[in-house]
Symmetry: C2
Subunit: 138 residues, 2 copies
């Protein structure tokens, strides 16, 4: 994470209080926050930060490959700082909880040429859906 800040600085990223705060919010354990959630947490550390800056900064982090956009629910995009370890997601249909998961096998290999229709396939996203233990017991 200071890793992240270091990497960004090394790539010529101009460091501002706002960008530092956004990076700090995404730091640490594997979170999957919406832009507004990132903004709310950023405001707690830097009250004057604007929504536009949060959106801009998230967009830049995505372009730089430091953060992934995931669309696990069908509402707001979520921002995933776990960009350097390929993984997929397990989502609770009831409460929206998200876990990172690592399935065995390579789903890309499961798509035969006859099912590629001339596309160059470069990536695959897998979203498992179900009910989390919390919601199951309630």
């Amino acid at each position: 994470m200071s890793d992240l800040l270091e990497r960004l600085r090394g790539r010529g990223w101009r460091m501002t209080a706002q960008r530092r705060v956004v990076a700090e919010v995404l730091d640490g354990e594997h979170v999957h926050l919406t832009a507004d959630e990132v903004h709310a947490r950023a405001v707690a550390k830097l009250p004057e930060i604007s929504r536009a800056t949060v959106y801009n900064t998230l967009g830049e982090l995505v372009s730089l490959g430091e953060v992934l956009e995931v669309a696990t629910d069908k509402r707001a995009k979520r921002y995933d700082p776990n960009a350097h370890q390929p993984h997929h997601h397990l989502v609770c249909a009831r409460c929206g909880a998200i876990r990172d998961v690592h399935p065995t096998g390579n789903p890309l290999a499961d798509l035969p040429d006859s099912e590629r229709f001339g596309f160059t396939v470069s990536d695959v996203e897998v979203t498992y859906r179900g009910t989390c233990p919390n919601c199951a017991s309630a």
Copy 2:
């Protein structure tokens, strides 16, 4: 897709001009339209149909299991009438073109118990991303 209309009528669905038009728009080849695209095509057949009715009808078709919601792009939801044949999607990252695909193997079996975190996993969505032949040649 008069099949669809028959099934719906059989389930006690009150048939109106608006609902018929929405069902007709979704009929036929495998389309993946946004709600606004469905509305635009519906208006061509029934100019006075409202946006709210299109949203309501799509929501009902989803509840009835006759249409699937898919979130292949990160903007509007898309509505998929190919609900009775399990399949996944291949999306062009450039132009957004969507194809139905049928990978081999069962991705559910690729998620070991140790990666389920106590969830009851009931469903999996796979989205392949790449470049379509059109966009590749351009």
